[in-house]
């Protein structure tokens, strides 16, 4: 018989180790310690910055946003903005214009070059290769300077050229024909939104018939036809959308008369709901059919923090600084005198849905006018791009296209050779193999790195400052040179770029998840 081992120590000795050896206690101390440390660090940094600014005699403030600025911007929807906020908004839209159109153009160009790089035609593939190596290996800043110099070397716009033409390319920039939006465009866009809903409904309706009756219903053609009908009909009947103007007016009135306390309650409820959702999901993930799994100390810590954050959110919005913050955000006090918020948005829309008639868009050719001794492009006809805009747009587009081309090439090469063979073997033509089999699969591989190129393009637009392109960095710098509010401008810059980048990567991630191949 083997005698069972006697336990060396008794259970009671295990039960209570001194706290400096107790793992549970140590973990809590570490968590709270780090939290305190970071809160302290942020406090130090911010209070130091604020006191430094006070030392310079320019106390931190956001006042410049509302005050007149008195500068002229190179371009944008308003070249003589009335306030700091308006100037920054111009910078933001200029940046977004380059980013959005640059992303589209760089993607198309990059895909073409990437495919060309893989062509079996030696000349085509070598030209693509040369393009990639050239644009990839020269700093973007140098390229932007180069394009600017190129545009500026085009020769002066002379008064002899007065009048309209299809195309101008001079040191004053490049002017092309354009569809200029007219007063009725808001109504037209509203009408097209209705059209989009109708198109969706028609498409689903045709697909349903296809599924029920098994007959060919040409769902795609029907949908296209529906939208085309709206596109054409809207041109004539868009003034009827003015009816919505009344709706917007009513909504503006409603939102203008909701007491601040309602918004406070909504925000407080949102904070409580977020905390509740987090805790519920957290516990659900740890629930097994046998019951709730044992929670670790770390889990308890997270639950506590979530609960505390939720509670402090509720407290913040309902008591103390909540009311003044919300009032400021909405731009109104508890006495309902208001200027920003939801009400002005609907007021704005109401002013645009005003039964105005006429074509919503007007086609026009660019025109040279001579108001003084110097010739310039007319602001009303066609569209003129400044040398700075052309330099930045061409620069970031061609530069990013080189990287996208390499990504596309890698994506295509990563598609298994057997896919090509199988697609050829069933009789598809070369172009069909690429379009129907290889590219859809390459697209999935390519999406994540493509997303980071989009982010690069968005951030590289800040180099526009080098050629005085009025994007947000250049505008911000102008503002702090005038007003000295460096910290405030930096905060706006960072928040803006972070917001743009997060939205972009959110879109890319959404598609990435949607496009994942279904596996077991």
């Amino acid at each position: 018989m083997v005698k069972p081992l006697e336990p060396q120590t008794t259970a009671s000795e295990h039960a209570k180790p001194p706290f400096w050896r107790n793992v549970t206690v140590l973990k809590w101390i570490a968590q709270i310690g780090f939290l305190t440390f970071f809160v302290w660090l942020f406090y130090i940094l911010i209070s130091q910055a604020v006191s430094n600014l006070e030392g310079t005699g320019i106390p931190f403030s956001w006042d410049f946003l509302a005050e007149p600025l008195g500068v002229l911007l190179g371009e944008g929807f308003n070249t003589s903005p009335g306030s700091g906020l308006e100037a920054l908004a111009v910078g933001m839209t200029n940046m977004l214009r380059i980013t959005a159109s640059g992303i589209v153009a760089a993607t198309i160009l990059g895909t073409i070059i990437g495919v060309a790089r893989l062509s079996s035609n030696w000349i085509v593939s070598q030209v693509a290769n040369a393009y990639i190596e050239f644009f990839r290996n020269i700093p973007l800043l140098v390229q932007i300077y180069f394009w600017q110099a190129l545009v500026l070397a085009l020769g002066e716009l002379s008064a002899d050229e007065e009048g309209a033409a299809w195309f101008f390319a001079t040191a004053k920039g490049i002017a092309i024909p354009w569809l200029t939006p007219q007063a009725g465009r808001w109504q037209y866009v509203g009408f097209l939104l209705l059209g989009a809903f109708a198109t969706r409904w028609v498409y689903k309706w045709r697909v349903r018939i296809l599924e029920e009756k098994g007959m060919e219903t040409h769902a795609a053609s029907w949908a296209l036809g529906t939208f085309a009908t709206f596109l054409i009909a809207g041109w004539l009947v868009h003034p009827v959308m003015g009816i919505f103007g009344w709706l917007w007016t009513v909504l503006a009135w409603i939102f203008g008369n909701i007491p601040v306390i309602v918004f406070q309650l909504i925000l407080a409820a949102l904070a409580a709901w977020l905390a509740y959702r987090f805790i519920k999901n957290f516990l659900d993930e740890r629930r097994t059919p046998a019951g709730l799994a044992k929670l670790t100390d770390d889990d308890y810590f997270r639950l506590t923090v979530a609960g505390l954050l939720g509670l402090s959110g509720v407290a913040f919005f309902l008591l103390g600084p909540g009311e003044s913050t919300v009032s400021q955000l909405l731009g109104r006090s508890a006495t309902f005198s208001m200027n920003w918020g939801l009400e002005p948005i609907f007021d704005f829309l109401a002013s645009k849905f005003d039964f105005s008639t006429g074509a919503p868009l007007e086609f026009s050719r660019p025109e040279v006018v001579v108001p003084t001794r110097f010739a310039q492009y007319s602001a009303e006809a066609g569209r003129a791009f400044t040398p700075a805009f052309v330099a930045v747009w061409v620069g970031v587009t061609l530069y990013t296209a080189a990287f996208i081309a390499e990504i596309v090439r890698a994506g295509i090469m990563a598609v298994h050779r057997g896919q090509n063979e199988a697609a050829s073997a069933v009789g598809l033509k070369r172009s069909q193999v690429l379009r129907l089999v290889v590219l859809p699969q390459a697209f999935r591989i390519v999406l994540p790195p493509l997303g980071s190129q989009y982010l690069n393009l968005a951030k590289n637009t800040s180099l526009g400052i080098a050629v005085a392109f009025a994007e947000i960095v250049q505008v911000g710098q102008t503002i702090y040179n005038q007003r000295g509010q460096t910290l405030a401008v930096f905060i706006i810059w960072m928040a803006f770029y972070a917001a743009v980048s997060l939205i972009l990567s959110g879109i890319v991630n959404y598609y990435n998840r949607k496009m994942q191949l279904v596996e077991r």
């Binding site: 073997a425 069933v426 598809l428 069909q432 129907l436």
Partner: protein
Amino acid sequence: MTDRKPMIVSEGVKKWFGDFQALRGVTTTVGERDVVVVIGPSGSGKSTFIRCINRLEVHQEGRIVVDGIELTNDLRNIDAIRREVGMVFQSFNLFPHLTVLENITLAPIWVRKQTRTESEENGMQLLERVGIPEQAEKFPGQLSGGQQQRVAIARSLAMNPKVMLFDEPTSALDPEMIKEVLDVMKELAQSGMTMIVVTHEMGFAREVADRVLFFDYGTIVEEGTPEHFFTNPQHDRTKLFLSQIL
């Protein structure tokens, strides 16, 4: 040799990969409704030979004629032959981004210009024929190897080919899935399809083949009926090969 109408004629086909000569003059004729099984050691050129028949590889010397159309550099001939010749691969090569049914209807819609409804009806019939109609809406990644290979066969059949090429269709499968694929191939052979099958499944060769080709060093070393081949092989190389695998 059969007295049937010749479907595939190969005369002195030679093929090099760089310095390496993969095919050293392959001459044979496959008649209509023939089932020809190609066996031989790895690297003997048997896969290369059937891949030359639908131009996945380009032969450098000799002639290949499929259903009266010679395989030349003329794109029209290549497209015409690929429409008539179906191929099943060792690694299935299903399109992973399309559902099973879409895999099958892709080529009929784009190459044969069938309507979607027509091609889907046809596709469902083919899936029933290979025994997996219930998988139509799944993606290839969700199927077992045997099911994937049966989809691949259905995909080829959707083009109504006159000839089916099989390049080691069961080599990548678990033993218990091999049978389900071979059963489909047997049914296909009995229905009168012209087939060339590269395989190591000797049972299949014995049961289904009209003729067996034995490949080694890029040429046909010996050919004959399965009976002749498995009971009375002539060449030493054939005897050695059979003694190692049987």
